[in-house]
C-alpha cells in the first residue's frame, strides 16, 4: 500500500507537470506565430498603433496638438500618447530601465530626460538603430551637442532632441504689485542681476507680504544655480567626464547647496518640493511668488495640474539672476523591443521635426532643440498669452543658441534623486542645516556606488 501510494503521488505529479508543459507549449506556439505575422508585415490590415511614453508635470512634452494632427492625417499609423508620471528620476526612468532590460513593457517611442542619457548611451542593446530608417540626414537640424548625445558609445544613432532647457524666472505680477515692487518684466529683470540681489528683493517682498513666500522651495532654485555654476566649472555637475563622482570636489555643487540652504534659513521658501501634489496645490493657492523656469516649466505652470487657467495673465517671465543656464531638455528614442520600429521611427521623425516642435512650443512653451524650429518666425516672435504675453520666443531663442551642454554621468539620475531628497529635507526641517552638506555627500556616494 505504502509503495503504491508513493508511486501514485509521483505519477500524479508527473501527470500534472505534463499537463502544465503542454499548456505552456501551446502558448509559446501561439506567441511564436503571432510575432512572426505581426513583426514581418506590419503593413497588414488595420492601423499600427505607436505608443508614445513621456513624463513631466502640466503639459509635459506638449505633444497633444501635434499628436492630434498626426492621428487625423495618418489613418494607418495612430499615436497613443501616454504621459506616465510627472517624476522622471523617481518613477519614470527606473520603470523604463526595467522594461528595457527585460525586453517588454516599453512604448514604441519613449522620452528620455537629459539625466538618463548617460545610461541610455551606455546601453546600445536597448535601442533601435535610427540610422536604419534614414534619420542620419537629420544631423543639421540640431546643435552638435544635442545630436551627439543621441549617439551611443559605439556610434549608433538612437535618439533625437525634443527640447532644450534655457532659463528664465517666472514671477507673479499681481503679487509683486501688491508688495510695491515693479511688475514690468524688464524692470523686474533689472532688480536681480545676481542671486544676492534676488535675496534682497525677496526680503523686500516678504516684509510686505506674509502669506505668500517668495520661492517655492529649495529644490527648484538649487537646480537652476547648479547648472549655472556647472557651466563655470568645466560643464560638469555630479560626475566628471570619466564618470567619477565629484560631488564633494566640484565647487558648483557646494555653491548651489549653500544657496538653497540660505533661502531656506532666511525663511523665503514655502517649503514645497517641486513636482509633488502639494507643490501643484501651492500654485493654485498662491503659496509662492517666483519659480525658476526652464522653458519646459512654463507648461508645468500653465497646465491644469499646475496653476491652471485661473492664473492666466498673473504670471510673467523675467531674466534669471546669474544669466542663462541649461536645465533639462529631452530626447526621443525607439526601444529595440518595439514591434513596429519603422513606423515608430517615422513618428519620432515627425515629433522632432520642425512643425511638431513649433506646435509644442506654442502649446506648452518647451523650447525646440530643432534649429529650424528655433529660427521659425512662429517661435522667434512668439508671445505666451498665459504669461501676460511675455515674448518667450525672444527670451528662450536668444539663450538656446549659446547653451552650454552639461555632462551628466551614467548614474546621474540616481545621484540626483538622492541629492534632491537632502536638499528638500533641509527645507522641511527633517535634516538640520548643520548636517545637510555631509548627508548630501554621503548619500550621493551611496547612490553612485
Amino acid at each position: 500500500m505504502i509503495a503504491n501510494s508513493r508511486r501514485g503521488r509521483l505519477l500524479a505529479v508527473a501527470a500534472v507537470a505534463a499537463l502544465a508543459l503542454g499548456a505552456t507549449a501551446c502558448q509559446s506556439d501561439d506567441k511564436g506565430s503571432d510575432t512572426a505575422s505581426g513583426g514581418g508585415s506590419s503593413a497588414a490590415a488595420g492601423p499600427v498603433t505607436i505608443t508614445l511614453q513621456t513624463f513631466g508635470g502640466g503639459k509635459n512634452f506638449g505633444y497633444k496638438e501635434a499628436v492630434d494632427k498626426w492621428n487625423a492625417e495618418h489613418k494607418d499609423i495612430q499615436i497613443k500618447y501616454d504621459n506616465l508620471t510627472d517624476q522622471f528620476e523617481q518613477v519614470y526612468w527606473p520603470q523604463m530601465i526595467q522594461w528595457l532590460q527585460s525586453g517588454a513593457g516599453a512604448g514604441d517611442v519613449v522620452g528620455i530626460d537629459e539625466g538618463g542619457m548617460g545610461l541610455a548611451k551606455a546601453h546600445p542593446e536597448w535601442w533601435a538603430d535610427l540610422g536604419e530608417f534614414g534619420l542620419q540626414n537629420r544631423k543639421n537640424d540640431f546643435a552638435a551637442w544635442k545630436w551627439e548625445n543621441g549617439v551611443t558609445a559605439d556610434g549608433k544613432l538612437f535618439g533625437l532632441g525634443t527640447d532644450v532647457g534655457g532659463m528664465s524666472l517666472c514671477y507673479r505680477r499681481d503679487l509683486f504689485e501688491k508688495a510695491g515692487l515693479p511688475s514690468d518684466r524688464d524692470e523686474v529683470s533689472k532688480l536681480w542681476p545676481t542671486w544676492d540681489d534676488f535675496i534682497k528683493v525677496a526680503h523686500k517682498f516678504q516684509d510686505k507680504i506674509k502669506d505668500t513666500k517668495f520661492v517655492d522651495g529649495t529644490n527648484t532654485l538649487y537646480n537652476v544655480v547648479l547648472v549655472q555654476e556647472g557651466a563655470k566649472n568645466g560643464n560638469v555637475t555630479y560626475f566628471d567626464k570619466d564618470n567619477n563622482l565629484i560631488v564633494d570636489k566640484n565647487p558648483a555643487v557646494k555653491t548651489a547647496y549653500d544657496f538653497a540652504q540660505k533661502i531656506s534659513q532666511e525663511g523665503l521658501t514655502a517649503k514645497l518640493r517641486n513636482f509633488t501634489p502639494e507643490w501643484n496645490t501651492g500654485m493654485k493657492k498662491s503659496q509662492f511668488a517666483t519659480l525658476g523656469c526652464p522653458s519646459w516649466m512654463l507648461g508645468a505652470v500653465s497646465g491644469d495640474g499646475g496653476a491652471g487657467p485661473d492664473f492666466k495673465g498673473k504670471w510673467d517671465v523675467a531674466a534669471v539672476p546669474g544669466g542663462g543656464g541649461n536645465w533639462g531638455g529631452s530626447w526621443l528614442a525607439v526601444p529595440k523591443q518595439s514591434k513596429h520600429p519603422k513606423e515608430a521611427a517615422q513618428v519620432l521623425d515627425y515629433l522632432t521635426g520642425k512643425d511638431a516642435e513649433v506646435s509644442v512650443f506654442n502649446y506648452a512653451g518647451n523650447m525646440p532643440s530643432n534649429v529650424q524650429a528655433q529660427q521659425d518666425p512662429a517661435v522667434q516672435g512668439a508671445k505666451n498669452e498665459y504669461f501676460n504675453d511675455a515674448p518667450v520666443g525672444e527670451i528662450f531663442a536668444k539663450s538656446a543658441a549659446s547653451l552650454q551642454p552639461i555632462f551628466l554621468g551614467v548614474k546621474h539620475a540616481q545621484v540626483k534623486n538622492a541629492i534632491e531628497s537632502v536638499v528638500s529635507a533641509i527645507d522641511d526641517g527633517s535634516v538640520p542645516y548643520a548636517n545637510g552638506w555631509k548627508k548630501l555627500v554621503d548619500d550621493a556616494v551611496k547612490a553612485a556606488g
Partner: protein, 324 residues
C-alpha cells in the same frame, strides 16, 4: 463513480473482505487508480504549482542572488556575505527597521483593542444585524490607493482638515510628512481605517463559536457583563487571536502601499526616509538603485524579522487567559 469514491473513503467501519480484494478488471485498474489515488493530488496541485512558481522559486532565487553584487544595468559578481555585513552597518536599513516596527506597534495595538470592542458590540442582538456587521467591512473594499490619497489630503500641512481642526485648539500646523512621529501616526490611522473592521469580523466569528451555556452559567453565578468578557470571551478567543495577530504581524512588517502613496509614490518615504519601511527600502535598493543583490539580502533579513516578530507575538498571545 460515487460508488468508487465511497469505497475510497477512509471509514472506520470494516469493509467486507470479499469486496476489498476483488481483482479489478484490467483496463479499469488505471481509471480506478486515477480516480482514487491521483485525483486528490491533481485537484490540490494548482495551489502547489503556483506556490512553486511564484513562491518557492523566487525565494530560492532571492537567496541565491543575495550573495552577489548584482547591478541590473551592469555586472554580477560574487560577494559571499558581503551584502549582509554591509547591511548590518547601513544606517538607512536600520532606520527602515525602526520605522516599520514603530508603525506596526502604533497601528496594531489600538487596532486589536478596537476590533475586539467592535466585535463584542456586534455580537449583541440588534436591529439590522447583517447590515451593521457588513458595514464594518466597507473600508476593506475601498482600494488602498484611494484610502491613502484621501488620508494624504486630510493630513496636508497647509490645507489639510486635520491641521485645520487642530487649529481650533490653538495648535500649530503639523508637517505630517516631515516629522517622524506624526508621519507614523498618520500612516497608522490609514492602516487601522482599513483593517479594524476586517479583524472585528474575524473576532466576531470566533465569539460566535463560544458556547452560550458558559455565559448563562456565569450569569447565574452573578458575573457581570464585563467579567464575562474578560474571563470567558477573551480566553475562549485565544485561537482566533493568534491567527489575527500573526496575520497583522505579517501585514504590518511588510507595509508598503500606504506609506508609499503618502509620499506621492516615492519609495524614499519622506525627504529623510521618515516613514520608509523595510519593504520600501527593498524596493528602493532593487528598483530605484538597481542593486538587486543588496535588495535580495534585505528581503531575507525582513523574512527573519517577520519570523522573530511572529514568534514573539505567538508566545505573548498564547499566555492570554492561560495564567488563571
Amino acid at each position: 463513480m460515487s460508488l468508487h469514491v465511497d469505497a475510497g473513503q477512509p471509514t472506520r467501519a470494516p469493509m467486507p473482505p470479499s469486496r476489498r480484494h476483488v481483482r479489478p478488471r484490467p483496463g479499469r485498474s488505471f481509471m480506478t487508480w486515477l480516480d482514487l489515488k491521483a485525483a486528490p493530488y491533481l485537484l490540490v496541485s494548482p495551489y502547489y504549482l503556483l506556490f512553486l512558481v511564484f513562491g518557492l522559486f523566487p525565494l530560492g532565487f532571492t537567496l541565491y542572488y543575495s550573495f552577489f553584487d548584482y547591478d541590473l544595468t551592469g555586472t554580477v559578481e560574487w560577494t559571499g556575505l558581503g551584502n549582509y555585513t554591509a547591511m548590518l552597518g547601513d544606517a538607512a536599513f536600520w532606520k527602515a527597521v525602526v520605522n516599520t516596527l514603530a508603525m506596526f506597534v502604533i497601528a496594531t495595538v489600538p487596532q486589536m483593542l478596537l476590533a475586539l470592542l467592535l466585535a463584542n458590540a456586534l455580537n449583541k442582538r440588534m436591529k439590522a444585524q447583517l447590515f451593521v456587521r457588513l458595514g464594518v467591512l466597507l473600508p476593506l473594499v475601498t482600494s488602498v490607493v484611494a484610502v491613502a490619497v484621501v488620508f494624504t489630503q486630510l493630513y496636508g500641512r497647509d490645507w489639510g482638515v486635520v491641521n485645520w481642526v487642530l487649529g481650533w485648539f490653538g495648535a500649530d500646523p503639523i508637517d505630517w510628512k516631515a516629522e517622524r512621529l506624526p508621519s507614523w501616526l498618520a500612516i497608522a490611522t490609514m492602516i487601522d481605517w482599513r483593517w479594524t473592521g476586517y479583524n472585528a469580523i474575524i473576532f466576531l466569528a470566533g465569539m460566535q463559536t463560544i458556547p452560550k451555556d458558559l455565559y448563562e452559567a456565569a450569569s447565574i453565578d452573578g458575573a457581570s457583563r464585563r467579567r464575562q468578557f474578560w474571563q470567558i470571551t477573551i480566553p475562549m478567543l485565544r485561537p482566533t487571536m493568534i491567527f489575527v495577530v500573526l496575520n497583522s504581524t505579517i501585514g504590518g512588517l511588510t507595509l508598503f502601499s500606504e506609506p508609499t502613496t503618502f509620499y506621492n509614490g516615492n519609495v524614499h518615504g519622506g525627504t529623510n526616509s521618515q516613514f520608509q519601511t523595510v519593504s520600501m527600502f527593498i524596493f528602493e535598493q532593487g528598483f530605484r538603485e538597481f542593486d538587486y543583490g543588496y535588495a535580495s539580502a534585505a528581503a531575507w533579513l525582513l523574512f527573519l524579522l517577520i519570523l522573530i516578530g511572529s514568534a514573539i507575538n505567538f508566545l505573548l498571545i498564547r499566555r492570554i487567559g492561560g495564567n488563571k
